[in-house]
């Protein structure tokens, strides 16, 4: 559809988990290749090359002398020596947990693996977690509980096009992962039904045949209500339930509480719409239930995802050809990033840091004694929240993340970061977190690195080096290996292929088994789906065809109950604030806000406000408003639209400073996954000024 691809290197987009294939040309422009969504790129992908030669790049380490001094350029040796000396001193005085590591879901598998090993072997700290905790953790926890394994989509993304019905829950892919919409378009063109669950009338909801709009924070009750209707009408798959699951009887009794009229009262979704959705799912030849952050980023996110899984299991979907449940992963390597040891409770290969056999296996690969490995650490928000407190860490190393913008209750987290003895940030631009660091390390961008990414399908793909990094910039693998050496820990390699082979050995026999995957294999085709335990294993595009990854091979129904766990609106904070993304920006916006074309498309933070609320507040479209919650206040331009329901306001979280949506968000955590309640809290809005002309 576009010009034939000129000379260049085949790699994948740096942004979301779809990982659209692209060719990076010598002039730093990109062209799409037909994978995995048929050759599409959104505006983020098209413009991704423009940051490679950007003047915003960091090309030299920066050091801050004294707490209030400016950042000054420094040599790598000085920066790494300083870091190593300070870390060693802090560890000697306060113990290994005085040092913490914070990773990211955009790092390659090799870097995520190396970082986990670095924390456990070189720093010997238990304190490592990553921003994926704020992304995928609820779906991961629920998937592990129900299926014994967590692979976002246990089927290839192309299956969407052939599904008779698709239920997308809290998942605005038309903005956050636009090229995947090709599959939804194809699905609808073939006569399939698309059902979208979202309080907002999003771009994705506009595509739907049926749009259910629950009050924010009530998805769990809606999921139970749909399952109630499926069972009440006798549309559950008894044969499947009998052969492939456990726990149905207990679930069935709990679901009796979720009769449609009650669910309507709790969620606001009319009974007729519930019945239509249940009938469409039950009547379809094949059906997919897929969740996104909208339903997962809650303090009951794990149970909410479980409720959607219960619905899918009652319908007999997971493991059936063309059907299934899946979670649509967000960050580029959100999948691989959570499999290889960045998570506080995990070791590579999705092994458990609590399991003796798992510890022994990984310790052997790392050449250490199992007893030398630390135990489970704190989840991301707990780790950040504790910084500088009596039991908290005193130094933090940040790789591929920008928590000053992306963490919940960000004002508090920024203060905690500023109070650290040592904050080290590795990034390729001066992100808001880098700007307050004591040491900043300039690292590669995607087109300058080699490695692997695991996309939303669990497909391992190659990221290839298309250009050399600018002088002064180093690769994170090299940086971590160098730091480990300075800390007296041998065995860290800077070569990605070598690290990947080690990762394969560490993952061998684990749930996410990469042992049979090599760069050679990846270079020969469109990637390999894990698990792939041996060189002659073809990989596993579809999981669960025969059995689930639980001990008895059966999927597990967990009865879950709705309770109003969200921060309750009251007279002072009468509105519900929900947060999310827009098409033109990615995550904290550190990259995309620095790309002119994207900044022109969406230049500043806004808040969507229903016309009824706008009228009540005397706010016109474009006026500046102050949004307040119990955590803090942010300023944004009002966007008056009935795409949001009355009393629900929406703010994207990509902007910095006093436009940070996360100054407002509720850090109440899911007890299982550690996911904060990003998606709903009580808020108020006041007019702050005239429309900026």
């Amino acid at each position: 559809m576009l010009d034939s691809v000129a000379a260049g290197v085949a790699t994948h987009c740096p942004y979301c988990a779809l990982q659209c294939a692209m060719t990076v040309r010598p002039d730093a422009t990109v062209r799409p290749r037909p994978f995995p969504a048929g050759g599409g790129l959104c505006v983020k992908g098209w413009t991704s090359g423009s940051l490679l030669d950007s003047p915003h790049r960091l090309t030299t380490p920066l050091i801050r002398d004294g707490r209030d001094g400016p950042l000054r350029p420094a040599q790598w040796d000085e920066a790494l020596s300083l870091i190593a000396a300070r870390l060693a001193a802090l560890r000697a005085e306060h113990g290994p947990d005085a040092v913490a590591v914070f990773g990211g879901g955009g790092l390659t598998n090799e870097k995520a693996y190396q970082l986990g090993k670095f924390a456990r072997v070189a720093l010997r700290t238990s304190r490592i977690d990553y921003n994926g905790r704020f992304c995928m953790s609820s779906a991961a926890a629920a998937g592990n509980r129900a299926f014994g394994i967590d692979r976002g989509l246990p089927f290839p993304v192309a299956d969407i096009a052939d599904a008779g019905a698709v239920l997308l829950v809290g998942c605005n892919v038309a903005e956050t992962m636009p090229p995947i919409t090709r599959h939804l378009n194809a699905q609808r063109a073939k006569g399939g039904t698309l059902i979208v669950v979202d309080p907002r009338r999003t771009a994705t909801a506009r595509l739907a045949d049926l749009h259910l709009r629950p009050h924010p924070g009530t998805d769990l009750a809606l999921a139970c209500g749909l399952a109630h209707l499926v069972i009440a009408d006798g549309h559950h798959d008894l044969d499947y339930i009998e052969r492939r699951t456990t726990g149905f009887d207990a679930l069935r009794r709990v679901l009796a509480h979720y009769w449609p009229e009650r669910v309507e009262r709790v969620t606001g979704v009319p009974v007729a719409a519930q019945r239509a959705a249940a009938a469409a799912l039950a009547g379809a030849r094949t059906a997919l239930v897929m969740t996104g952050r909208g339903t997962e980023q809650h303090s009951n996110g794990t149970d909410t995802v479980q409720a959607w899984i219960n619905l899918a299991l009652a319908l007999g979907l997971p493991g059936a050809p063309g059907s299934g449940y899946g979670c649509v992963t967000g960050q580029g390597n959100g999948q691989g990033g959570r499999e290889h040891g960045q998570k506080a409770d995990q070791l590579p290969g999705y092994r458990s840091i609590r399991d003796d056999a798992d510890r022994a296996h990984v310790a052997a690969v790392w050449g250490v004694r199992p007893d030398d490995l630390p135990g489970p650490g704190q989840s991301a928000y707990e780790l950040l929240d504790g910084l500088g407190t009596a039991d908290g860490s005193r130094a933090l190393l940040v790789f591929g993340s920008n928590p000053v913008v992306s963490a919940p209750n960000a004002g508090h987290i920024e203060r905690a970061l500023r109070g650290l003895d040592l904050l080290v940030v590795a990034d390729f631009v001066l992100s808001e977190t880098a700007a307050i660091a004591d040491v900043v390390l300039p690292v590669c961008q995607w087109a300058e690195e080699s490695g692997t990414i695991t996309n939303l399908e669990g497909r391992v793909i190659r990221r290839r080096r298309a250009r050399p990094a600018p002088p002064g910039v180093r690769d994170e693998l090299d940086v971590v290996a160098d730091l480990a050496r300075r800390l007296g820990a041998p065995g860290f390699d800077a070569d990605p292929e070598t690290v990947f082979a080690e990762l394969g050995a560490a993952s061998s026999g684990g749930r996410a088994d990469y042992a049979g995957i090599t760069y050679d294999r990846l270079d020969q085709g469109d990637g390999v789906f894990w698990p792939c335990p041996s060189a002659d294993h073809p990989g596993t595009p579809r999981l669960f065809a025969e059995r689930f990854a639980t001990l008895d091979g059966r999927a597990v129904f967990h009865p879950v109950e709705y309770a109003p766990v969200t921060e309750r609106p009251d007279a002072e904070f009468p509105l519900r604030l929900t947060t999310g993304r827009v098409l033109a920006h990615y995550q904290s916006g550190a990259q995309t806000r620095r790309i002119d074309e994207l900044a022109a498309a969406e230049g500043a933070v806004f808040v969507q406000l229903n016309p009824a609320n706008a009228a009540e507040l005397g706010v016109r479209d474009g006026d500046m408003v102050r949004v307040r919650t119990r955590r803090g206040a942010a300023i944004a331009a009002a966007r008056v639209t009935d795409d949001v329901p009355v009393d629900t306001v929406f703010m994207p979280f990509h902007w910095a400073g006093d436009g940070r949506a996360n100054l407002l968000t509720d850090p109440k955590l899911d007890p299982v996954s550690g996911m904060p309640a990003f998606k709903v809290c009580a808020a108020r809005v006041d007019r702050a000024g005239e429309r900026a002309s």
């Binding site: 090229p179 090709r182 098409l583 639209t641 009393d647």
Partner: protein
């Protein structure tokens, strides 16, 4: 503590579950007595069982949690508050705290022939318990005649359900319109039309004066001497709180067992009452939401934790469970117009031909009542505002109709993935779609706008390019 609960209905079971959930150390021993012979079940779903939209076998409530002793089929015959003992015919059980969750019992009107020495005449039933439901189902047969007494929610649901099972149903109501506590006369009439359309004959402003039949019910006679033959009669004439036991043991009983804000009897601090049998601040509810809230409140008080904070009490919302008749009513929904109350604003949309009726009752800009019949699309928002006493929009029309008016029509983005506007595409007049793609990136994301781009290009060569914009922005940001 030893805690005894009388009643295994919705309120009693919720109480036990809540108390147990907050008591991981098993400090409390809970014993529940249920007069009905079967395990605790979900009474709310009986109408759906009768309507054949929910299977009877699935109405059981979740099994009692560990540490809760369920004694079903055991009626408590006496409470001795001085000795802190309850007695059944099987013996005595001591308590430290006693909870009444005895619910309510159906009212059987004093109509000649309706009741015999051994209870209701065969063929006549109340509709309260699972065994009532089973008995009605056993007596119902397609083609048969049924009479339902009472045009309240339960009577309407029963009439609709029996009609759905193929019976010819006569619904007899003493008032001049159905659901008169919840609906105004116009809404009541539209509901009657809807029922008639489903095969229910509605008789208003009349009463049954006699029930005839030797061994079984065979007919009823109305005030005007009309005779309706029937083989099945369901009396849905309301309920009264079941307070006989409470009264007999000397507790203060008015409409229900009088309780304070902690759900304790005002007579005896060791006794609580929750659900339909309780009277709190002068109100006896008959709905599950307040019953559950009272149960949680009592459990918190006994367990020693803070109850879920609430700005205001749960306001009951009536939601009819009648197939193909979508009806909800909340608050002061029966108010007719401002004449009743000058401070009241009433907004009504009536469409009897399509069996639609929507109504908002506002006081000082706040929704204090609402009715939705036939189209409940905006009801979620209205209920939410009503529950929280939030100000309604200045123009309440937005609450009656789901008008998707939004979208910034000035932007006219056609390719959302790449932010390409119609104007940009129109500027490519004379080019092909793939040329436009190369120039503007339109269609290179999800590709969903390819048809729109082609249409725009076609029209661009015609005279009035903007005429097609409305159609062309379907997949864009409109």
């Amino acid at each position: 503590m030893r805690i005894v609960v009388i009643g295994t209905g919705m309120a009693g079971v919720r109480f036990a579950a809540d108390l147990r959930a907050g008591d991981p150390g098993f400090r409390h021993e809970i014993t529940m007595f249920g007069a009905e012979p079967e395990p605790a079940y979900n009474r709310i779903l009986l109408s759906s069982v009768l309507a054949d939209t929910f299977p009877l076998r699935d109405i059981a409530l979740p099994a009692a949690p560990d540490g809760v002793h369920m004694r079903v089929g055991r009626s408590v015959t006496e409470v001795d508050r001085a000795a802190r003992v309850v007695r059944t015919e099987n013996g005595a059980t001591e308590y430290d705290v006693l909870v009444f969750a005895t619910g309510s019992t159906p009212v059987v009107p004093p109509i000649p022939g309706l009741r015999g020495a051994a209870g209701l005449t065969p063929g006549a039933f109340t509709f309260r318990t699972a065994s009532d439901c089973r008995a009605i189902l056993a007596a119902a047969r397609p083609g048969g005649n049924a009479v339902v007494l009472g045009g309240g929610p339960l009577g309407v649901e029963a009439a609709r359900a029996l009609a759905g099972r193929g019976m010819a149903v006569d619904l007899v109501h003493q008032q001049t319109h159905l659901l008169q506590r919840h609906l105004d006369p116009v809404a009541g009439r539209i509901l009657a039309m809807a029922l008639t359309a489903h095969g229910v004959r509605v008789h208003l402003d009349t009463a049954v004066t006699a029930v005839s039949g030797e061994e079984r019910v065979s007919a009823v006679r109305l005030t005007d001497d009309t005779v309706l033959s029937c083989e099945l009669l369901v009396a849905a004439c309301g309920t009264r709180p079941e307070v006989a036991l409470a009264r007999a043991c000397g507790l203060a009983v008015n409409g229900g067992v009088v309780v304070d804000d902690r759900m304790r009897s005002i007579t005896d601090p060791a006794v609580y009452a929750v659900g339909d049998c309780a009277e709190h601040r002068g109100v006896v509810h008959g709905l599950v939401e307040p019953a559950w809230e009272q149960a949680s409140r009592a459990a918190a008080d006994i367990g020693g934790w803070s109850p879920e904070p609430r700005d205001r009490p749960v306001l009951p919302v009536l939601r009819l469970k009648a197939q193909d008749i979508d009806l909800a009513a909340m608050g002061d929904s029966a108010v007719v117009d401002e004449v009743d109350d000058p401070a009241t604003e009433v907004v009504v949309f009536a469409d009897p031909a399509r069996r639609r009726y929507k109504k908002l009752v506002l006081r000082a800009g706040v929704i204090v009542g609402a009715v939705f019949m036939g189209d409940t699309g905006t009801m979620g928002t209205v209920t939410d505002l009503f529950d929280r006493a939030r100000p309604a929009p200045a123009d309440p029309a937005a609450l009656l109709f789901d008008l998707a008016t939004s979208g910034d029509s000035t932007e006219q983005v056609v390719c959302r993935c790449n932010g390409v506007t119609a104007k940009t595409i129109l500027a490519c007049e004379g080019r092909t779609v793939s040329e436009v793609a190369r120039r503007t990136r339109a269609t290179t994301g999800c590709g969903g706008c390819a048809g729109d781009v082609a249409a725009l290009l076609t029209r661009a060569s015609a005279k009035d390019p903007f005429a097609s914009l409305a159609a062309a922005t379907v997949n864009g940001a409109s």
